[in-house]
Amino acid sequence: MSARSNILNKLRAGLAGATPRPDDFDERLVTEPWQYPPEERIARLQNLMEAVQTEVHSVRGEDWPETVAGLLARRNLNNLLYAPETGHGTQLGDYWRSTEQAIELLAYDRPVEDWKDTLFWSVDASITGTVGGIAATGSLVLWPDRHEPRLMSLLPPLHIALLRASQIEDNLYTMMQRHNWSSGLPTNALLISGPSKTADIEQVLAYGAHGPKELVVLVIEDE
């Protein structure tokens, strides 16, 4: 007998004569305490994210590349990892060329194996889009894909994320329902709620454990 059938048989024996419990999920318990008027969503997300050392800026739709350039210049950084095939990547690239930025743009356009060393040690910052935000917990939602791979939001010490104000949902439950997550998830979906951190030594909070030391969120006012 295989481990699989042994385990399943034992479990089935344990349930003999019993009926499965019904699905009595009460969605009010995960929505009602976490609902906000639209004008408060951004403020709540911002407050929660700032509480975990995240920088949040509101920007206008066309202005954000300039804000990015400013953020990088202030930090004296040398390069920025971006996704050229995305809408925001194109916008950023155009801005970079037209303003002749000195900071190097690195395109994540080849498999990680081809340039692991660079990715792990030599990238200063990255910029990615998001598929939305969650006001209740102060979270960004990322669905990395072929164009904007997973490690972009993990390896560089500074991660800049673009968030459209109109895509901030009240809570995770609403986010899942609105975008019908249960009908299909990507290889990797992520909620990110601040820069990486640890409190493993004496419960002292230290940022920049293994992922980004800094997270900057640019909230694009689009409504």
Binding site: A3, R4, I7, L8, K10, L11, G14, L15, A18, T19, P20, R21, P22, D23, D24, F25, D26, E27, L29, V30, P33, Y108, D109, D117, F120, W121, T137, G138, R146, P149, L154, Y173, M176, Q177, W181, S182, G184, L185, P186, T187, N188, A189, L190, L191, S193, G194, P195, S196, K197, T198, A199, D200, I201, E202, Q203, V204, G208, A209, H210, G211
Partner: protein, 481 residues
């Protein structure tokens, strides 16, 4: 790494280890401070009692629903994961699970494993198993890394190195990594980051645990703050997730309340920095992520707990650690005293099914049944009730077919005799009153030493007259009955 005996192999029984821990002022201060802070954080994270209690009930029902369909959900999970390209393996014992993991690594000719935090891999003692086979298996959670460097085991399931202070960590980094000593926690974390980043880059295989396995979508959900979990599951070409069979939930939406309960109960955080939902390996067109994803589903005694409807409730556990944070016993003796993977109240009720009561005969008794654990459990496991049940199984005559692994470990004919006498005393009113009469009349004969009681107290001296006597007189005067 040096050849020190892991803490779990230390000799001495629970009581001896407890006594040692109680005498260690530094350890007690470390734990008291940390647990006080974690209790405050949890309380602050649940400001609304009504909201908290509603959510706990929902969490309890979600887990009960999943357990009531567990075999079906495991099959559904397997089907969905397989469709998503994840390879699913089943193991009844830790030995089998280790063999499976080793087999995968061997097939890939891997020699370097980097691990995210996983309590199931602690159950398996995977690091030691792989090390014996020439494979470096390195913990990457900062706390886990620290205890591994010192050849120790975690002393808390969420905060593995909570028993150590910064000076001890600094000395460890100095001795093992040649780093200059420092009192600066940020600097210590920088050292860990630098050292481990190299390991993430070079690893052949990443191992992780699973917080929730979602049957509906075939998704493995992991929570963490450091980013090491994402590293372990993204950077190496192979990802192996190991988990207990109880971690499956039916629907994606079920994780919404469970996630909130988990992070708020554990650390008082509204959410962890990262919530990582993995639904498959790298697609051909994708540029990163593991080429292979495996899930090992481990039994290790869980089906034994499942077989008993009362003990089945132990499988509700979502491993938040709140019960230990609130436990007056754990706070005083720390995690290592328990000598097993899972310490504290939850450890006392899950460990017997894994290792048998013979190995942990004192665990069920090491509780004042104060109920703090059950009060905070986010999925409402009736921990005191289950401890109580384990005590029953523990003292059964092995012939009485105990229902828990190695039940009857504490069977004692003489103790049974004492309770038999106690029963006689308390069911025979004349005998009881005779006892009262004797105890009060000869109260001066109470010995100054009365077993372990007088270690901490002066001997209890009976009153001059019992309540039976006083009440009789008083009520006679009042004309009562």
């Amino acid at each position: 790494m040096s050849q020190r005996i892991p803490v779990t192999e230390l000799t001495g029984d629970f009581r001896q280890r407890a006594e040692d821990a109680l005498g260690d002022d530094q350890l007690r201060t470390n734990f008291r401070t940390a647990m006080d802070s974690l209790m405050t954080k949890r309380a602050d994270a649940f400001p609304d009692e009504e909201e908290r209690e509603g959510l706990r009930e929902l969490g309890n029902r979600i887990k009960a629903r999943a357990l009531s369909r567990l075999p079906d959900l495991l099959e559904q999970l397997e089907t969905r994961l397989t469709e998503n390209g994840v390879q699913v393996h089943w193991a009844e014992t830790v030995e089998e699970a280790n063999r499976l993991v080793h087999g995968i690594i061997e097939r890939r000719q891997g020699s370097r494993v980097v691990k995210g935090k996983s309590m199931v891999s602690e159950e398996m003692e995977m690091n030691a198993y792989l090390a014996e086979r020439g494979i470096e298996s390195l913990e990457s959670d900062m706390g886990e890394y620290i205890v591994q460097l010192d050849d120790e085991k975690p002393s808390h399931i969420i905060m593995p190195a909570i028993h150590k202070n910064r000076r001890q960590v600094s000395r460890l980094f100095h001795d093992h990594l040649g780093e200059p000593e420092t009192d600066d926690v940020n600097e210590l974390i920088r050292i860990g980051r630098r050292t481990l980043r190299r390991k993430f880059m070079d690893a052949d295989v990443g191992v992780s645990g699973v917080n929730f396995a979602i049957a509906e979508t075939g998704t493995l959900l992991l929570v963490e703050n450091e980013g090491n979990g994402r590293m372990s599951t993204t950077a190496p070409p192979v990802h192996i997730a190991v988990t207990g069979i109880e971690k499956v939930v039916q629907n994606l939406r079920d994780v919404v309340p469970l996630l909130s309960l988990l992070t708020r109960s554990a650390l008082g955080q509204p959410i962890t920095t990262y919530v990582n939902l993995i639904s498959g390996p790298r697609k051909p067109e994708e540029l990163d992520g593991p080429e292979e994803v495996h899930l090992v589903l481990l039994d290790n005694g869980r089906t034994g707990a499942f077989a008993d409807a009362q003990m089945r409730q132990t499988l509700n556990c979502i491993r938040c650690g709140a019960c230990m944070n609130h436990c007056p016993v754990y706070t005083r003796v720390g995690g290592h005293t328990y000598g097993e993977v899972y310490p504290g109240p939850i450890g006392k009720i899950v460990t017997p099914h894994m290792v048998g009561l013979h190995k942990v005969p004192d665990h069920p008794s090491a509780s004042s049944l104060c109920g703090a654990c059950g009060e905070v459990c986010p999925v409402k496991i009736p921990i005191p009730e289950l401890l109580q049940r384990l005590r029953q199984e523990n003292v059964k005559n092995p012939d009485e077919a105990p229902k828990v692994k190695d039940g009857g470990a504490k069977y004692s004919r003489s103790e049974r005799l004492v309770w038999g006498l106690w029963q006689q005393l308390n069911t025979r009113p004349l005998l009881y009153r005779l006892f009262l009469w004797g105890a009060t009349r000869f109260r001066k004969l109470t010995p100054a030493k009365a077993g372990p009681w007088t270690d901490n107290h002066t001997a209890p001296v009976p009153a001059r007259r019992s309540l039976h006597d006083l009440a009789k007189d008083h009520l006679a005067r009042q004309g009562g009955r």
